[in-house]
Subunit: 299 residues, 2 copies
């Protein structure tokens, strides 16, 4: 690795959950965050800046898979080089010195708003307004010194933009995790390093199958014969092609060679089989203590 900072494109503004996940994933490395307002922007950034890494949310325990991200990943020439699971927490932030009663409007990303709706039911005087990003909503309050305005954003955003936390961890569901994928154009180099260290034990693949009895069962049976385990499967109808289905599957394995052989074994029975990346399975980032759940990187 070079000594210059690794550039990591994140969706959202500095202080967004994507930055938190990026910092946790790259831990002690020197990273420089490249903010992208939307996921398509992030994919464009990576297309132009081949040395830049990216981090994208791919699924969430409450809302499921982020299908548009799967589609963009499938259609790109980027590969997954790692994953990170983050427990999602939301803070109610505003300029210092105000009470909740003084806040008339709260801005945040629609997903964050949805996850905190129960909390705001107690404050019917507050109007919830959608914005492009959690952290950007916090930044705007600080930049424009907006009184009477709040944001739902991360603790990191609160610190970065020097806002006060009016209420802590206001998310309704305390078991809400988002899984992030780290993607890169230079996957192969990274992969080689990981392969040498025998760390690659997971893969994400996509393929389509004809809508025929037993077509999926054959694929899974072959994978089982090769001792390949499934950690996720999701089917998607292809609109306008009702006779064909798309499948996103995550696999884990102990023997990398066996895994490659298993792909060769299922390929003739599938259409458009593609590996989206081979990587080291993410750390167990949420040990459970007495019913409460914290990420490994909090406390």
């Amino acid at each position: 690795m070079s000594k210059t900072a690794k550039r990591i494109a994140i969706q959202g503004w500095p202080g967004a959950n994507h930055e938190i996940a990026a910092k946790a994933y790259f831990e002690d490395e020197n990273i420089e965050v490249v903010p992208c307002l939307t996921f398509p922007d992030l994919f464009d950034t990576l297309k132009q800046d081949r040395d830049c890494y990216g981090i994208i949310a791919i699924e969430n325990t409450l809302v499921g898979s982020l299908l548009p991200n799967y589609t963009m990943l499938k259609d790109s020439d980027l590969v997954i080089i790692g994953e990170y699971k983050l427990r999602i927490k939301h803070q109610f932030l505003a300029l210092p010195g105000q009470s909740i009663e003084e806040i008339k409007e709260v801005y945040s990303h629609p997903m964050a708003i949805a996850q905190c709706e129960a909390f705001f039911k107690n404050y019917p005087h507050i109007k919830l307004i959608e914005s492009e990003d959690t952290a950007l909503s916090a930044k705007r309050i600080a930049d424009e010194q907006l009184k009477g305005v709040g944001a739902i954003a991360s603790e990191l955003a609160g610190e970065m933009y020097e806002l006060e936390t009016l209420a802590k961890n206001i998310e309704t569901n305390k078991k809400n995790f988002t899984r992030f994928l780290i993607i890169s154009d230079r996957g192969k180099t990274e992969n080689d390093e990981l392969l040498e260290q025998n760390k690659i034990n997971k893969s994400s693949i996509v393929f389509s199958l004809p809508h025929e009895e037993g077509s999926l069962s054959k694929i899974l049976t072959i994978l089982a014969f090769y001792n390949i385990n499934l950690t996720k499967i999701q089917s998607l109808p292809i609109v306008g092609q009702e006779w064909e289905y798309l499948f996103y599957v995550d696999l884990t394995f102990t023997d990398y060679k066996r895994y490659l052989q298993s792909l060769d074994a299922i390929r003739p029975l599938t259409k458009k089989l593609k590996s989206l990346g081979e990587y080291a399975s993410g750390k167990q980032s949420y040990p459970v203590h007495n019913g409460d759940i914290e990420t490994a990187h909090s406390n």
Copy 2:
């Protein structure tokens, strides 16, 4: 059936997509819509009013499955008695006689806002504000005669609340479909009628499996031996129980008895296998013409 109107609980206000789907599904029947602001409200309504039917969105081609609805359905004693697929269209509505330039704020459900963001990028002077419901946003404009305020809602809502359409079909993705489930406490009676008519050919089941190599492949192989087809499969990790996975699977079949036998055959290998309902597969509601897609009920 009695001659009094069938009560159908919908999520959303009259004029919401749930009402459009309910009217399309029950076609010539005399129905009375019972509006429920949220999905939990709808489940509560059905718990108290045992004669009432319900209709819930369960998956959408853009955002995937509505996992919280799956969870509530699984945990309830309601059953699916039918399904309907609706092409989602959004209209930009306001009080008559205004131009887009005069509109300063647009209210709608976060999902509808997300689906029309590309359109509103051309009108940066408009603030997009989240509300509880598409149709309710339209109703409020009419009730309070709000000038300078718009709503994203259905054509039906525009007609019901006598609003003008400032822009038609402003949704970004023209291939966006939502699948709705019709649910009922009295599923068994309905089922008996359908069974007699040999119309039952689909089922939605849920089960969990130990996180073991090949556990899913065994289940699918048995289903294939029984000539049961899969039209959907989705795995879900169970937070806090990383050794177990939940699966939601939709099955289609031609022989109802064989289907029941196949469930008996897989039951010992699964945990908590439950049928969420057996029903007649929904009409193909979106024939494809020259790349454009319309629902069967629109011209």
